[in-house]
């Protein structure tokens, strides 16, 4: 069996972002394996440990994305494939580029993050499923293999549901799917020797970024001492009523 995790490298949410020219400048940011994709890697590792086979990590992005692929290899994935592209590409273009590579592996299933921490897209898993001609289960919180099918629990806008799906299929992750492991030192050493195949991106982005700006609202930061809760509450309600005019 082959379990594929599709990953990207993104800035750590705690990193400060700057604008250079009219675009986000990531040069000072800490770049990490997207946490939502971390759940995907962990899930493929657990499936492999339970059912045997291979865990393959497929990454899309600039040269530096190899760092995130190596992180996944250090967690325990067997080998990596890196579709290299230095610019920005939208989920439809990425899905187009990845579908061929993934199809060649004929995987049992594919898992990817529910939302990307840079483009804030939720569409890659669905676009990939369309490209592969298979169903998608989004926001997955539980996944079990049952022969040729999988049983999964996933979140809807309101509520959740259990579904059964014939494999192969694409799953996108939700927080709570699993608790990702940390790479161990031996894992990191081994990862250095694991194969990462490089593939050139062939495709045309369909969306272009014209401008990026950071408009953080300056907050008033009027913080009251709550030692006397009744007085503090009274003052807060007064401020919300008279100053902010929201009550």
């Amino acid at each position: 069996m082959k379990f594929v995790a599709v990953i990207r490298q993104v800035p750590d949410g705690e990193s400060r972002l700057k604008i250079q020219g009219n675009r986000v400048d990531l040069s000072g940011a800490t770049l990490i394996l997207d946490q939502m994709d971390e759940y995907a890697v962990e899930e493929t590792l657990r499936l492999k440990e339970k059912h045997g086979g291979e865990a393959i990590v497929v990454g899309f992005g600039p040269e530096r994305t190899e760092e995130a692929i190596r992180t996944a290899l250090a967690m325990g994935a067997d080998r990596g494939i890196h579709v290299v592209y230095e610019g920005f590409a939208d989920p439809v273009a990425v899905a187009e580029a990845l579908a061929g590579v993934i199809q060649e592996e004929a995987p049992t299933l594919v898992v990817t993050g529910g939302q990307q921490a840079d483009w804030d897209s939720q569409a890659l898993g669905a676009a990939l499923a369309e490209a592969l001609g298979v169903p998608v289960v989004s926001w997955t919180t539980a996944l079990e293999l049952e022969g040729e099918t999988a049983k999964a629990k996933h979140d809807l806008d309101e509520g959740a549901e259990w579904v059964r799906v014939r494999l192969p299929a694409v799953f996108t992750t939700q927080q709570g799917l699993n608790e990702p492991r940390y790479p161990t030192l031996p894992g990191i050493m081994k990862a250095k020797k694991k194969e990462v195949k490089k593939v050139a991106f062939q495709g045309a982005p369909k969306v272009e970024i014209l401008e990026e700006t950071i408009q953080e609202k300056t907050r008033l930061q009027k913080i009251l001492d709550g030692k006397d809760p009744v007085a503090a509450a009274e003052e807060l309600v007064r401020l919300l009523h008279e100053e902010a005019k929201v009550l």
Binding site: D120, V207, L247
Partner: protein, 314 residues
Amino acid sequence: MVLVVLDHDGNKLRKGSLEALTRARALAEALGSKVVGVLLAEEKAPAEEALAYVETLYTATLGPYTAEKWAAGVLAAARQVGAQAVVAPSSRQSRTYLGRVAYALKAGLLEDTLESTVEGGAVVATRYAYLNRVTQKVRAALPVVLTVKPNTTPLAEPLPTRGEVKTLEVPSVPTVEVLERLQEEKKGVSLTEADIVVTGGRGMGSAEAFRLVEELAALLGGAVGATRAVVDAGWRPYSEQVGQTGKTVQPSLYIALGVSGAVQHLAGMNKSKYIVAVNKDPEAPIFKHADYGIVGDVHQVVPALIEAVKRLKD
């Protein structure tokens, strides 16, 4: 043609559908085109209400929702009318099935947009990125698939004349089998549409203590929100979760009670007009993102807040 996807709860159009209609009409006007609607139903759909807003409405009843069936329905309508643009209210479900549609149409996908215009025959839109911290201006040539972020757009008015219904042939597609729906009891104001949101975090201490959060929210006519920590603890349902992996809200007033202010939580509420925090730790990150706050114990401060609001209302 501009195809608008009308979302509903079985009985009524969702407010987001009226926002999507406004956007669709503006795009159609700029493109010298027309708006047609598609209304997909599990069993029942408010076709009568929808006919007040579009001249032509494609409808199909598809049984339990799956991303594949909904994608097939929208695609069938898009192909039938030769859609240059598909416009829909943004929700997690729509952002899933429209990912399929965008791929099938080889369209530019503009997710969760704040505004959209036509410039030089292409669609230009703004949206948030980097966990809601960056505003992006993006452009895509036609065809495009565009979702509309809730509470960004004026609601459409009905047309002077009623439209006509056309039944849509939706091909059957390989999809998932729905085994069991875990419905949540819907109560109070919808989180994404609420003008005031009162969120409780782990600092509330227990599921029982959320009575205070509910009481304050009800008093203010607002909705209850929750952090992931609270949802993981089983104190509140996932549909109330605010943040990166929950809902994104942008109310006039966001009140965070016993919430630390993790980036993943901020991603869902940092665009709120006013943010209020109550936390016993003066160093809690949430205070850096707050307009007003009280350093104190929620078990003392929240009852006092409830009383103070009651006095204001009297």
